[in-house]
Amino acid sequence: MSVLAPILALLLLAWCVAVLDAWMTTGRFRPLAPLTATLALVAGESLVPRKPDRLFFETAPILLLLAAVLAAAALPIAPHLVITDLATSALFVNAALAYVLVALLMAGWGPDGAYAMIGGWRFLGQTIAYSMLIVMPITAVAMRAQSLLTTDIVRSQAGLWNVLYQPLGFALFFVAAMAVSFLPPFDLPTASGELAGGVEAEYTGARRAIFRLGRTILIVSLATATTVFYLGGWLGPWLPPWLWSALKTLAVAAAMLAAGHAVPRLREAHLLAWAWKAGIPLAMLNIFLVGVLLLVIP
């Protein structure tokens, strides 16, 4: 029971995010779309490229799904609705997210195709850009909570949500979260205009269904992480805690999906330059400011 409920909640949120994504892309609201799409994929043919690295080709979607689920496992939806409650949960989320990179590298190398390979290596470049930006705001959040336990982090926001306490950290984490889940404008690995689908291009059938499921759960995990770290998790009046969590998570996911439609894909050189020359100093500034606030405000 204690593990099943969070997993079901995760799947339900993933369903909602998939419907949202389809609505934003095509303009049609179809609540049953994830089910029909998955059935269509699983019932269709599953093609394998001619000379793949079979091990990587098969493992990549599963690893992506696993990484996303593990990241979500350490995040609480309600005070006792969390799969694992490690003392280093906030760091564990980041550790799980690092395997998204490994999964995409495998997906790039596996099919023995140039588009996939370039997409995979580009994602590595993207990782070098976002990896600092996603960890340093977590540091500032943990400083306020004086603990790495995600439940403690939520409880520390009872007075004031972190989005207001550390808005700079929120902005950086939000952008870095979009980059982790390779959402546009950070969709360098799966660019349709430049790489004809990139890492996702060679997957068909059931493997593609797993890949897409993994990607959707990744978006949900990152939205949940943003909610837990910055938007007060389950805190809020009147409604039950899990509903607050779900609403906030969906709002963040919608914002992530929508933000990319207005901006063209970033050039990799620009992404790296801005992340390192602007992003990291700002993240350090954020840590400094939070430190000052913590010392000054009793």
């Binding site: 019932a43 291009a201 063209p264 894909r265 050039r267 050189a269």
Partner: protein, 621 residues
């Protein structure tokens, strides 16, 4: 089965589809990023043979269930016969797609499904020597030059050097590189050739631990053994340019040292080759890094590039080391058979480029009038102006949609495509509204964050002879054939000029031209009916009367949306005997290889797209 979104691979591509007035988005079909994610292959209009081959390759990559929908296409080989056919109109598309959905849901897995194996995808095994890649045989054996056993590798069935596949041939190139690399790697082996002094012993260049007293073959690899104190052994007569030079450079210490006995006396550098030395002569890219290179084809059915354009980029990492471009839109001729009647000639020229038929119809008409000495009336001239300007705006909007596909701006793609289709299907009253909307679009684009950063300094071209059209005007060249046209001067026409010559400037030029063209078309005020009907009425279908039995030659120049096109015709008794056509895209195509070198991949694709090349025009001989 429940209704769902269909993904379609479109041949020739979204640009031609929009130009023909087909809107898959309106009937719930999206353009697929890759054939593997598509369920339906849609063909529109007559397709040249190479494009059909490309479509066959795409079809072979689609997972089942898959359906072919042909709109107005007659010839299909090597594709199988289509499952659904229809006319090349939006209604035809809508009805066809309805039938496609029925097919997919009811007959998803037909019992008599056969594997689709077109000849173009057939591969055969050939055998090559790792040390001598030029030695290629069809059966296993040994290399005549060095005696090594030949290694199997896959090659495409067709013997052309250009592959029509949309998947890369990483295997083939990996083998080539492997052959070179293997050669380089046995430096350590070479250095240990000298073992005993005095006696002649024989050793294998690749396996230095094999030492024999008499000549023969190496038991490990089958190569002929070489004398232990010889220079390079069998490896010296190879055609590996970089590694060969390296060989020679490195072997000098061996030569000049008469006491070369034990290899260890030469110091630690001999039997361990550092990566710096091994890669000393490798070609280096813009970053200064010697990286492995792969040849990747982009096109002809690539989302974000014009349909029918095949860019083969040699990538070192994600930087383009070399580029070559070619068109797959088949040999097109301005005059397929001499002695064509004038009316048919005009229609033939209009069919040359499905993206801008009106401009070429106009060009043919003008050339014929110049040859026969007739002049059109003022009313006709204004009608032609309106039709041409309307098409210019539509063409630039198509270019905007392509940029949006490349760069990842879905709202721009939707908006530009909708504009283009409204323009094609709409009437005169729509023009005023569209002019205002184009200004709004331009403002919104200028306010799009990061778009300028994305396009700035990409694909910069300085003024040169080969540039025409918006590409030239963006570079500051004042070339516009419309400045010499009195009908345009009457309406106060001025060409759009900018400085800069990069992709961003070209975008601005095209945006400005859209607004001006729409205003010109509206001011001409003669058209009251949708565009495709208008062009016939505007240009005048009574060409036969105007020309009669004229004899002469004439030349005409028209500013097509992509630049100046020039046509020379020779008339003899009302029949066209000779014609020569010069199109802007042909010149722009030759600029691509140099333009794309040393650009990052995304920038290279944006640069190629910003030239707005029409492969149909470019393949006119």
């Amino acid at each position: 089965m429940l209704a769902r979104d269909l993904h379609a691979v479109t041949v020739p591509g979204p640009d031609v589809f929009s130009a023909l007035g087909l809107d898959p988005g309106a009937v719930g079909v999206t353009y697929a990023a890759t054939p593997r994610h598509a369920q339906v292959l849609v063909l529109a209009g007559p397709l040249p043979p190479e494009l059909r081959e490309a479509a066959a390759v795409a079809y072979a990559q689609m997972p089942r269930p898959r359906v072919i929908l042909a709109l107005g296409t007659q010839e299909f080989s090597p594709l199988p016969d289509p499952d659904v056919t229809g006319p090349a109109s939006h209604d035809g598309l809508a009805q066809g797609l309805r039938r496609v959905r029925e097919l997919l849901s009811r007959h998803a897995f037909s019992p008599e499904a056969r594997a689709f194996e077109p000849a173009v995808l057939a591969t055969r095994t050939e055998y090559t020597c790792p040390m001598h890649p030029e030695v290629v045989q069809d059966e296993p054996g040994t290399c005549p030059k060095c005696g090594m056993e030949l290694v199997a590798r896959e090659a495409s069935g067709s013997s052309d050097e250009t592959h029509h596949h949309t998947i890369s041939h990483k295997d083939a190139s990996a083998h080539d590189d492997h052959a070179q690399h293997e050669h380089r790697d046995d430096h350590g082996g070479h250095a240990e050739n000298r073992t005993a002094e005095g006696a002649t012993s024989y050793t294998c260049p690749m396996h230095p631990e094999i030492v024999q007293d008499e000549p023969g073959r190496c038991p490990e690899c089958g190569m002929f053994l070489v004398p232990a104190d010889s220079d390079e052994g069998a490896g010296s007569d190879t055609g590996h340019a970089p590694s060969h030079a390296h060989h020679q450079a490195d072997s000098h210490p061996h030569d000049h040292d008469p006491d070369a006995g034990e290899v260890h006396e030469h110091g630690a550098g001999m039997d361990f080759m550092s990566m710096v030395e091994v890669t000393k002569d490798l070609p280096r890219g813009r970053d200064g890094l010697p990286m492995d290179r792969i040849d990747v084809p982009f096109g002809p059915l690539f989302p974000g590039l014009p349909g029918g354009l095949l860019l083969t980029l040699t990538l070192a990492g994600d930087v383009v080391a070399r580029a070559s471009a070619r068109t797959l839109t088949g040999p097109r001729s301005a005059l397929p058979e001499p002695g064509m009647p004038a009316a048919r000639f005009i229609e033939h020229l209009a069919s040359l480029d499905p993206l801008t038929p009106t401009a070429y119809r106009l060009l043919a008409r003008r050339a014929l009038e110049a040859a026969s000495g007739s002049t059109p009336s003022a009313h006709q001239q204004r009608a032609r102006l309106a039709a041409a300007e309307r098409e210019r705006a539509a063409s630039h909007l198509g270019g905007l949609a392509q940029l949006a596909r490349q760069v990842g701006l879905p709202w721009l793609e939707r908006r530009a495509t909708r504009f283009q289709l409204t323009l094609i299907h709409g009437d005169h009253d729509a023009l005023a509204l569209l002019a205002r909307q184009s200004v709004a679009l331009r403002t919104r684009l200028e306010r799009t964050p990061l778009l300028a950063a994305r396009l700035m300094h990409v694909g910069a071209l300085s003024p040169a002879d080969g540039l025409r059209g918006p590409v030239a005007r963006a570079a500051g060249m004042t070339t516009d054939a419309r400045t010499h046209d009195p009908a345009y001067a009457e309406l106060g026409f001025e060409p759009v000029l900018h400085q800069g010559g990069d992709a961003l400037t070209r975008l601005h030029v095209r945006l400005e031209e859209i607004t001006r063209s729409l205003r010109l078309a509206e001011a001409a005020g003669t058209l009251t009916m949708p565009a495709d009907f208008d062009t016939h009425a505007a240009i005048g279908d009574a060409i036969g009367d105007a020309i009669g039995d004229a004899i002469g030659d004439g030349q005409a120049v028209v500013e097509t949306p992509r630049g100046e096109a020039c046509l020379q015709v020779y008339l003899d008794g009302g029949l066209v005997t000779r014609a020569r056509l010069d199109t802007p895209s042909a010149g722009h195509l030759t600029l691509l290889p140099e333009l794309l070198t040393d650009l990052e991949l995304g920038d290279a694709l944006v640069a190629a797209g910003s030239l707005d090349i029409s492969p149909w025009e470019a393949s006119v001989s």
